[in-house]
């Protein structure tokens, strides 16, 4: 269980979160939806430990994790393609693997590459890959640390339906053993991952849409 207790976050004078509390169940998939700029990415970054809340605490299975523990147990996949563009897929995997003490083995990497249909691209330089393939590599890098919590910020934005489906299948598979948190704006993704949906913000559009489709959600 990930527990947010009275979390407050301000950007200059703008309050993004004011004493917010939330409980996220272990394992399974949790989706965060809401309008742009409402603070979805900020929330994920705080859970990942990349940003610190101004006040409040975040507990993981009832305890606070040190930076080292977060590094070991949380995989974060940013919205941007955070890869070395001039290096090949294999070189990127080797680079980020080299920053970690414990990583998934090469067989598992090969499995993910195959599952995402990019095993042929291992020797290709990242800047020559399509946007979809770059996103898939971006995802695999996030899995290298063998995380128990996987956080993804709009992992399927701007890619074709086939690639999106492949990524969704991998995430589904991962959610059986790992807590997967992600943000999305895509309706098919919201319909596909209805385990736990957290609605952020006051915008009625998302609320109406969820209620129209009879999808249960938690309001933050």
């Amino acid at each position: 269980m990930i527990t947010l207790q009275n979390v407050t976050k301000h950007y200059r004078k703008k309050a993004v979160y004011e004493k917010c509390s939330l409980e996220i169940p272990t394992a399974g998939m949790t989706l965060f939806i809401g309008q742009n700029g409402i603070g979805k990415s900020t929330l994920l970054k705080m859970i990942a430990g990349i940003e610190k809340p101004d006040a409040g605490t975040i507990l993981y299975d009832g305890v606070q994790w040190s930076a080292n523990e977060r590094k070991k147990r949380i995989g974060y996949v940013p919205q941007e393609i955070a890869l070395w563009e001039h290096m090949t897929v294999d070189e990127n995997l080797a680079f980020f693997k080299g920053l970690l003490k414990e990583t998934i083995d090469d067989e598992l990497i090969a499995y993910y590459l195959k599952k995402l249909s990019i095993e042929q691209e291992r020797k290709t330089v990242v800047k020559k890959l399509s946007g979809g393939t770059q996103r898939k590599v971006n995802l695999i890098i996030g899995l290298l640390a063998k995380p128990t919590i996987l956080i993804l910020d709009e992992p399927t934005v701007g890619i074709d339906l086939k690639s999106r489906t492949e990524i969704q299948h991998v995430l589904h598979e991962l959610s059986a053993t790992c807590t997967v948190l992600l943000t999305t704006h895509l309706l098919d993704e919201i319909e596909a991952f209805t385990d736990n949906i957290v609605l952020i913000g006051e915008d009625t559009f998302y609320r109406d849409m969820l209620e129209e489709k009879n999808i249960a959600y938690t309001k933050l």
Binding site: A48, I50, A67, K71, Y76, P78, E80, I81, A82, L83, W84, E85, H86, M87, E91, A94, F95, F96, K97, G98, L99, L100, I141, A145
Partner: protein, 308 residues
């Protein structure tokens, strides 16, 4: 650390090759400029030798050994040797008469050499040097003259003189060690820093904010990135600068290496910070240039002994 070595050194080898090449090209250009400068300060002296004797050849050899002298033979057919000086092709013209050796032996050396010389300070220096060289050649003959009464042959005097020739009273010491306050070293450091600015353009591949941000997730900070970056680039700058020093004939010493290394490390720390904290290329370049120039000004002030 291995990952950073791979990223910063192995995948980035072209940067180092280009920096080395820049130092070599600069060193070559400076070497040519210095050679040209040295040629300009050579003192051209023409010698017209009418006496085909050992003594006259000896004198010419002695003149050629004089530092900064560039001695040329003037044909004995030349009827107006003074024109060499008048037309400023030579600072001085020395005319050795056909009875030079005989007059040396007979101790009749007054006015034996004719000298045309420019009437200026350079001419005075050349006159003094030629005079000293000619006088030195006469010494054994003077000694032999005094020993004539004791029936000592000139050859014996030469042999003895060769053994006991007095050494100069001046102790000449060339400064070969680079002082930390050497202006030559300061100039090399400034060149090194300016060449170093080029890495802002050459290291575009390392300046990828999203990938760097991901590094921070795993590493918390850029400590290892900075360490490898600063070490690798400082090494290249120092080795390049030392190569430059050797090419242009500046002596390399432990002091010089230390001063170069200190300047390179300080500069590289600044460049590494710029690469990770400033996103816009033109801003990075501008700030690196300003940083290099600021360091250069500090170094020059240190060489000049500080601000009065």
């Amino acid at each position: 650390m291995k990952s950073f070595f791979q990223l910063i050194v192995v995948k980035n080898w072209r940067t180092y090759a280009i920096l080395f090449a820049a130092f070599l090209v600069l060193g070559g250009v400076l070497k040519l400029l210095i050679a040209e400068q040295n040629r300009l300060i050579e003192l051209p002296v023409a010698v017209q030798n009418f006496d085909d004797s050992e003594s006259s050849k000896q004198l010419m050899t002695a003149l050629k050994k004089q530092p900064r002298f560039h001695v040329t033979n003037l044909s004995t057919e030349e009827r107006y040797p003074e024109d060499e000086v008048a037309k400023q092709r030579a600072v001085a013209v020395v005319i050795i008469p056909d009875d030079y050796e005989k007059r040396l032996a007979a101790r009749q050396t007054s006015g034996v050499l004719t000298l045309y010389v420019q009437h200026n300070m350079v001419g005075d220096i050349v006159t003094e040097t030629i005079s000293k060289t000619a006088y030195k050649q006469q010494l054994p003959y003077i000694v032999a003259q005094h020993l004539k009464v004791k029936n000592i042959a000139l050859e014996d005097v030469f042999a003895k003189y060769k053994k006991v020739e007095p050494k100069g009273q001046l102790t000449m010491r060339s400064l070969v060690d680079s002082s930390p306050q050497s202006l030559g070293l300061a100039a090399v450091i400034i060149v090194m820093l300016l060449v170093g600015v080029a890495q802002i353009g050459l290291n575009r591949a390392l300046c990828q904010p999203q990938a760097l941000a991901r590094v921070r997730i795993y590493e918390t900070n850029y400590r290892k990135f900075y360490m490898v970056y600063v070490a690798a680039h400082s090494f290249v700058l120092v080795v390049g600068a030392l190569g430059l020093m050797m090419l242009i004939g500046l002596s390399v010493s432990a002091t010089a290496i230390f001063v170069l290394l200190a300047a390179a490390v300080v500069f590289e720390i600044g460049v590494a910070l710029l690469l990770t904290h400033v996103r816009t290329w033109s801003h990075q370049l501008f700030m690196a240039l300003i940083f290099a120039m600021t360091l250069a000004v500090i170094i020059i002030l240190l060489q000049l002994g500080g601000v009065a």
